[in-house]
């Protein structure tokens, strides 16, 4: 149910479901963990930079996982690093999301024949969005972040919080305006 906004002489009021209003607030304030291993981390920094400003979406980087919502796997993951990334993921409070940025984090990238690269972040973490590219342009990264936003706005948060699990939410569902 889309929120209904009514103007009245002394201001106005909006009527909507709690889910919608909560998700509206949540999706416009995604804090990502300042984490990057390889080349994709540079594109992540450029996305946070002046031209493609991620801050206008309400996204800012946090150094500690305890304050972060989104773990952006930016760069190649090695076996030595994988256990540390799992530790970072476990420290993040719910609700949390994982974005695999670039081909190295999605499937291992061009390091398929390498002996020390994990062939994709989803072998040890639950990934929500995959962003292709080597490295993805800032516009692609913004598209991926917007997909997470669409995923969040469909989440029946109260049902989830009260123990009734939601059905699988497909981020490619038609977007409501």
């Amino acid at each position: 149910m889309t929120p209904i906004i009514e103007k009245s002489p002394d201001g106005g009021y909006a009527i909507g479901s709690v889910d919608k209003l909560l998700n509206l607030a949540r999706k416009h304030s995604l804090w990502y963990l300042l984490f990057g291993t390889a080349c994709c981390a540079i594109e992540l920094m450029q996305t946070g930079g002046p031209r493609t400003d991620a801050d206008r979406f309400g996204m800012m980087f946090r150094s500690t996982p305890r304050q972060a919502d989104v773990l952006l796997l930016a760069g190649t993951i090695t076996y030595k690093m994988a256990s540390r990334i799992r530790l970072l993921y476990d420290q993040m409070p719910e609700p949390k999301y994982v974005i695999a940025m670039g081909s190295c984090a999605s499937t291992g990238g061009l390091f398929q024949k390498s002996y020390s690269v994990v062939k994709g972040g989803d072998l040890f973490l639950p990934v929500d969005v995959y962003i292709p590219g080597c490295p993805p342009r800032p516009e692609s990264l913004v598209e991926g972040l917007m997909l997470i936003q669409h995923k969040i706005e469909k989440e029946p948060w109260l049902k989830k919080a009260w123990g009734k699990l939601p059905e699988k939410i497909d981020p490619r569902l038609p977007r409501e305006s």
């Binding site: 291993t37 080349c39 920094m45 930079g49 090695t78 690093m81 390498s114």
Partner: protein
């Protein structure tokens, strides 16, 4: 070992872990810091968190097909690694590179040097607490990214060089854009100096901190701006010339410049600022002297280098980037080894760290300009 404090309690050594995920480490580097309060006994670096096996991957790729992998070794200055690899293969094949290709390689490399120093200087100031210069330099780096994207199609990890030359040619429109970029950028270096270089807080945090003497720098294998800041006057472009560099006139900044003693953090910072200026100078000379001609020499479609080995080194922005190539006559390289500046720079940290404070360790690592992929390959 432990001295009684004012309250009479005994003090012991504390072992702290910094990294591999840490806001101040450049990439995934880890330090195990043995400290007594704020003053460190030693900081032991641990690397290997980004070891992707690029050297072993060469053995399963063809000579020409390995070029995109060389970008990933140092993605901030990818043209240098590509050039080192191309030069190593060309030394074995004994190919003659056309002059226009050499000039285009120099243009690409110097643009990469400026772009790399943007991130380095920005990260140095960001680690020490000043966030604004970093964002200013990110904005400037976007202009270089646009130029390079127009040149070869990708903002970083370019895959622009080929064995025998370069892949794409430039036209007058691009050269005009390069010239207007240089006109725009040279005053920005002065603006950057006015903004942050003379800042008293920066000077206090970097001057006379973590001094690396010239003997130590040479013995531990430091190269590039780190070596020059310690007082050794050495630049591969001028002293073992390669490519088109003999035709250019440029100065090589050697410490001490300005305030402070040779080998401290502030000198390493100043040398990089001055190098950006010299790179602009080289680019202007390139624009004036660019010859016409082919952009790639004739090499066979399936390159099979003759048996032997070669070592080619270029002056990268982080130090000497060397490629040691062993060939056994087949179509894949037999062994490729990368000699990078960050590996040596990481190894000297354990030697320099005793007596520094933990905050100085951040300044040391930032000014030595180590990044994880170059160290781990």
């Amino acid at each position: 070992m432990s001295e009684p404090t004012q309250t009479g309690a005994q003090r012991e050594e504390l072992v702290l872990n910094m990294g591999p995920h840490h806001p101040s480490t450049h990439g995934v580097l880890r330090f195990v810091v043995h400290t007594d309060g704020e003053i460190m006994r030693k900081a032991v670096p641990e690397v290997g968190y980004l070891h992707r096996g690029l050297e072993k991957l060469a053995e399963s790729q063809t000579y020409a097909g390995y070029m995109p992998f060389t970008d990933r070794i140092n993605y901030l200055e990818a043209m240098f690694t590509e050039q080192a690899y191309a030069m190593a293969v060309e030394a074995l094949l004994a190919t003659e590179i056309p002059p226009r290709a050499e000039f285009l390689r120099v243009i690409a490399c110097e643009l990469n040097r400026i772009a790399n120093h943007h991130i380095t200087l920005g990260c140095i100031t960001m680690d020490l607490g000043a966030y604004t210069p970093f964002v200013y330099l990110l904005r400037e780096r976007e202009s270089i990214n646009d130029l390079i994207e127009a040149l070869c199609g990708n903002r970083i990890t370019h895959n622009y060089l080929r064995i025998g030359g370069v892949a794409y040619d430039v036209d007058n429109i691009w050269l005009g854009q390069l010239e207007s970029y240089l006109d725009h950028f040279e005053p920005i270096i002065n603006e950057f100096e006015a903004l942050i270089v003379g800042n008293e807080i920066l000077i206090k945090r970097m001057q006379d901190i973590a001094v690396i003497s010239r003997r130590d720098a040479v013995a531990w294998g430091l190269t590039g701006p780190n070596l020059r800041a310690s007082g050794q006057d050495w630049d591969v472009r001028r002293d073992i010339p390669y490519g088109a560099y003999p035709q250019f006139e440029f100065d090589v900044p050697v410490g001490p410049l300005g305030r402070g003693q040779a080998g401290d953090c502030y000198q390493r910072f100043l040398v990089r600022v001055e190098e950006m200026r010299q790179s602009c100078r080289i680019l202007r000379q390139c624009l004036a002297k660019l010859p016409e001609g082919d952009i790639k020499a004739k090499v066979p479609k399936m390159i099979k280098a003759p048996k032997g080995e070669s070592y080619a080194s270029v002056e990268g922005a982080r130090g000497e980037m060397g490629c040691y190539l062993v060939s056994d006559g087949g179509k894949n390289p037999y062994r490729v080894k990368w000699r990078t500046g960050s590996f040596s720079a990481m190894s000297i940290i354990e030697h320099t760290s005793p007596g520094l404070m933990i905050a100085d360790l951040v300044a040391l690592v930032a000014t030595l300009d180590v990044i994880a992929p170059e160290c781990d390959r």
